[in-house]
């Protein structure tokens, strides 16, 4: 909340918060003044009692700061939930301490980002994980292909006919077709 030196701004936080709640609830200014003046919060500071005019001025200024802060608090809650979802999407277990710590750092980063940057940033992080997942899948598929190919080569080599084909006459193309035919046979 911006620094304000009005009477209400000088109140202890709990009492000021109560005043703001009463204003938000539409309580009469007289009732608010009675609450504040019945405490010694202003008198102990040598400040004159709160008036309805003071409340009206606060309504136009400090009260808007308070309402904005409440909206900011709700925004933070939403960012925190979103951060933990992002961490989970990246493969983290949201129940672990490490993930909750990471989500905390992510929340702070998103909170500091300007509103127009926060959503694209969150989407970019989610997309990054998507790209990493796709790359991992390709890598796994390649590994699987290499393993399958190696097994077939081994089976072919174990078959004496493979050596006969390689050492026999015929063009390279003919030998290749013969080996492929042998591979089809051993794969059955």
């Amino acid at each position: 909340m911006a620094a304000r030196r009005s009477k209400i701004a000088r109140l202890p936080w709990e009492l000021r918060n109560r005043v703001c709640e009463m204003i938000a609830d539409g309580r009469p200014a007289r009732e608010i003044c009675d609450l504040v003046n019945d405490s010694d919060a202003l008198a102990s500071q040598g400040v004159a009692p709160l008036t309805e005019q003071n409340v009206s001025e606060w309504r136009a200024g400090g009260q808007k700061d308070w309402e904005r802060d409440r909206a900011s608090a709700d925004r933070l809650s939403r960012l925190s939930e979103a951060s933990l979802h992002l961490v989970a999407a990246a493969g983290g277990d949201p129940a672990t301490v490490g993930s909750r710590l990471l989500a905390g750092r992510l929340t702070e980063m998103l909170d500091r980002a300007a509103d127009e940057d926060a959503l694209p940033l969150a989407k970019a992080l989610a997309a990054l994980r998507g790209a990493e997942t796709a790359a991992e899948k390709v890598k796994l598929e390649r590994e699987r292909f290499r393993r399958d190919a190696a097994e077939i080569v081994l089976k072919v080599l174990e078959d004496r006919r493979a050596a006969g084909i390689a050492e026999g006459s015929g063009t390279r193309e003919e030998k290749t077709r013969a080996i492929l035919a042998l591979m089809d046979e051993v794969e059955k």
Binding site: W13, E14, R70, L76, S80, R100, G104
Partner: protein, 89 residues
């Protein structure tokens, strides 16, 4: 704002995220809401009180021994009843 209230508000708004004490100290002092600046000692006392006496915060320990603090659902409930005071930049 009193330190205990500020700590509860900071953690509750960011639940279920967790924060180490040095980060909490920096962020809460920077928010400008405190009646008096927090020190590492006063912050730690406030956290321990929130956890042990009110069950509104909890300390978490990572596999590498890192300790972090988070609000509990009860802490979030109390914060909500207080109309969600905001502690941030």
């Amino acid at each position: 704002m009193k330190l205990q209230t500020a700590v509860r508000a900071f953690l509750a708004a960011r639940f279920p995220c967790a924060f180490e004490e040095p980060i909490l100290l920096t962020r809460i002092n920077r928010s400008g809401v405190l009646d008096d600046p927090a020190t590492p000692e006063t912050l730690h006392r406030a956290l321990v009180t929130l956890a042990s006496r009110f069950r509104e915060a909890e300390v978490l320990t990572d596999n590498d021994g890192t300790q972090a603090w988070s609000a509990t659902p009860l802490g979030v409930s109390t914060w909500t009843q207080q109309d969600k005071p905001y502690v941030g930049d």
